[in-house]
């Protein structure tokens, strides 16, 4: 491995994983899960937290077998250069798609709340340039971004205090009326929002104390689960069922009931502020995908960054409508689910089998 690698402490992993999980999805997740599991949506959220917790454990044990490798290198190691590269290409495409889905989701939101009429590509370009700037600073800058973004936005949680005044507890009753299939569908939908823990596969080589990593990554995913859980429960209590089903961003609509003596429409602050929440995601995804390009084509990472950015910029001229976006998010979510919920399990067993074969011979 390279010797000039820049290490960060293990506790930073908490911020990286947590911030990469929280992104645009959380603004809409109460509705999406509610559509599947009705008032038991919160159970689905907790279940998916449990599911991710198991997967995190698997990911760490895979990574522990290959010290100081990221997933791309593991693939080449496991499957050989050729097949490994094919899988890696697929992953890079996924990350580019995920990056685009976050950018366009945010641009769409900000166009609805105040910037109507601006072309999508303007927003996309602005976000891309800032991201390119951060990513070219290297991994330590990205880790710092995650840390700062966490500190600067976590207080938003307290804003839901005011909607608490008009909640109604009967709306969550009766508990456990959803069928197991509905609940599992809810878990499936929640998982789209909870995606982001896969960054663990790629930040692993940069962490200094690898033994502590399991603890901090578990902490991160449970913290995320808690936040998603809180927003889901409060949205269910706050909106009547039919209302929750029609709001695209129930969380934003909910904080439109928040007003301070000095500020009447808080959501117009919250929406621009959300850029801080998605910024770490943008950085991480651009970083990971450019790392993949470097691995596959042996390009310089800098060039990878530019190539990917140009691809995304061009896409922003074509996929912009609400319906198209929705389809796009769904597809990315689906692929993400199989890639990071099912595939790690597969990978775990493959790596066990392979190490058994090697130890026998």
């Amino acid at each position: 491995m390279k010797s000039n690698i820049s290490f960060v402490n293990a506790y930073i992993a908490f911020f990286i994983i947590h911030t990469s999980q929280i992104e645009m999805g959380i603004l809409g997740v109460p509705r999406i899960v509610f559509l599947e599991a009705k008032q038991d949506a919160w159970i689905s959220v907790l279940l998916s937290g449990l599911f991710i917790s198991v997967i995190i454990w698997m990911i760490i044990s895979i990574l522990a077998k290959y010290e100081n490798c990221n997933l791309y290198e593991i693939h080449e190691n496991l499957f050989g250069r050729f097949i490994g590269s094919i899988i890696n290409t697929f992953m890079v495409i996924y990350f580019i798609a995920a990056l685009y889905s976050i950018i366009i989701a945010y641009v769409e939101l900000s166009l609805t709340w105040g910037y109507e009429g601006v072309d999508e590509w303007v927003g996309v370009l602005a976000l891309l340039l800032v991201t390119i700037y951060a990513v070219s600073g290297g991994f330590r800058v990205i880790a710092g971004t995650c840390f700062l973004s966490f500190l600067m936005t976590i207080w938003l949680l307290f804003v839901i205090y005011q909607p608490l005044e008009s909640i109604n507890f009967t709306r969550i009753l009766p508990v456990m009326s959803a069928t197991p299939t509905q609940l599992m569908k809810g878990v499936f939908k929640t998982s789209f929002t909870m995606l982001g823990f896969e960054t663990l596969f790629f930040i692993f080589p940069f962490i200094k104390e690898k033994k502590k990593l399991l603890f901090f990554s578990q902490l991160a995913i449970w913290f995320t689960t808690l936040i998603v859980f809180i927003t889901t429960v409060i949205s269910i209590l706050f909106f009547s069922p039919k209302e929750l089903e029609i709001h695209i961003w129930p969380v934003v609509s909910m904080i439109s009931a928040v007003h301070f003596p000095f500020l009447e429409r808080f959501e117009f602050i919250a929406v621009p502020l959300w850029i801080l929440v998605i910024f770490p995601n943008l950085c991480l995804y651009l970083f990971i995908s450019s790392k993949g390009v470097k691995q596959i084509f042996h390009l310089k990472q800098k060039h990878g960054i530019w190539v990917i950015s140009i691809i995304i910029f061009i896409t922003s001229f074509f996929v912009t409508k609400r319906v198209d976006n929705n389809l796009f998010f769904d597809q990315v979510g689906h692929v993400g689910f199989y890639l990071w919920f099912i595939y790690p399990i597969l990978l775990y067993f493959i790596s066990i089998i392979k190490s058994k074969i090697f130890s026998q011979s």
Binding site: Y133, T170, P174, S240, P241, S253, E267
Partner: protein, 376 residues
């Protein structure tokens, strides 16, 4: 390279602002009212705040006819050189015809879709919205919109009104098993508009109205934080004597009048048997006016008075519930409570209404006199 990138970012990111809005050029609408003209055509009237110092008037009212609220708005734009913005919109009025015949929910769509309209604006019903908005008799406020907003806001916070902002209204409207209520604003020539009654709605159509004091019974069961407003009871002296409460001074009329101020309240709705619902509530109050005076310094007489007040209120609640059932409307949310029980969680709106009309309702209100003011 990096320096150029930073410079470029600065240029691009700072240029990304929404089109500028100059205060003097804005026509800030604070109130909008819809009147039914024909089937499907409405007349919309708005009141605009003026910021131009040269003008003497502080507000301007205009109206236009159209089929959707956004079309009306477009036509309103034709009549003014100002940019009509709805960011400060505080109140939306509907006339009686819309609320009785068409229903309000068709207007809700645009309010939820339009992100510039917050969810804290008030909705109200009135006879003719254009006349209300054109009425010049408001107090010290610059124009009608601010006046009506303050009027409703004050009433909601400390007096007799049920929450009627857009969020409360739409969440009760869309919820199965509870019906919304809206204030009715009355308008007389030569006087400022005032809140007259509270409209009862079934789904989104107005079916009846109740006096402001009756809202007490709704708030008792729907909102634990709401202020109930003072309660005045007029009890015949014979009833008082039957209870054994002694008057201190000689009475001038034949009624015993008492006003109590609720301090805290707690209400619960319980389905006790298959088709029997118990509505229990406890109110702790302080007595603020008693005519004629009675002794309130011993436990016994206080207990008797508490019982008496409780009985009177329970009776009134019982009558009120029957009145609601006659209109087949359920602003208290009894249906919602039934639906929250596992057995009934699949009931549809229609089934719930049927069940609601056949239920046996038992209501008891317990009054607890906590304080008696500075004297006893």
């Amino acid at each position: 390279m990096k320096k150029w990138l930073i410079l470029f970012c600065c240029l691009l990111c700072t240029a990304c602002v929404p089109p500028e809005k100059i205060l003097e050029r804005q026509g800030i609408s604070t109130i909008i009212g819809y009147d039914l003209l024909d089937k499907d055509t409405y007349k919309g009237s708005i009141s605009l705040l003026q910021f131009d110092r040269k003008e003497e008037k502080t507000s301007e009212t205009i109206s236009a006819v159209g089929t959707t609220s956004k079309q009306i708005r477009q036509r309103l734009e034709q009549q003014t050189s100002h940019d009509i913005t709805s960011g400060q919109l505080r109140t939306i009025l509907f006339d009686k015809n819309i609320s009785e015949m068409i229903g309000i929910s068709s207007f809700l769509d645009t309010m939820q879709r339009d992100s510039s309209i917050g969810s804290l604006i008030f909705l109200a019903i009135t006879n003719n919205t254009e006349e209300v908005i054109k009425n010049n008799n408001y107090e010290e406020y610059p124009e009608m919109g601010s006046y009506i907003y303050q009027l409703l806001d004050k009433q909601e916070r400390k007096e007799l009104l049920i929450n009627s902002n857009l969020h409360d209204f739409s969440s009760t409207l869309y919820e199965i098993g509870i019906d919304p209520t809206l204030p009715i604003i009355s308008n007389k020539n030569g006087a400022a508009p005032y809140i007259e009654k509270v409209a009862l709605l079934k789904d989104d159509k107005m079916v009846g109205s109740i006096s402001l004091t009756k809202t007490l019974f709704i708030k008792l069961f729907t909102n634990r934080r709401a202020s109930l407003g003072d309660i005045t009871l007029n009890i015949p002296l014979e009833v008082l004597e039957k209870k054994g409460i002694q008057l201190v001074e000689k009475s001038k009329g034949d009624k015993f009048n008492i006003t109590i101020r609720p301090i805290k309240h707690r209400g619960s709705i319980e389905l006790s048997k298959e088709d029997e619902v118990k509505l229990n509530a406890t109110i702790s109050v302080s007595t603020i006016e008693v005519q004629p005076a009675i002794t309130l310094n011993n436990k016994k007489s206080i207990k008797k008075l508490e019982q008496l007040l409780g009985e009177e209120l329970s009776k009134e609640l019982g009558d009120f519930l029957e009145e609601l059932r006659k209109l087949n409307t359920d602003p208290i949310g009894i249906g919602r409570k039934i639906k929250s029980i596992r057995k009934y969680s699949n009931l549809s709106d229609k089934d719930l209404r049927e069940k609601y009309s056949s239920l046996k309702l038992k209501s008891t209100i317990k009054v607890e006199i906590k304080r008696t003011g500075a004297v006893d």
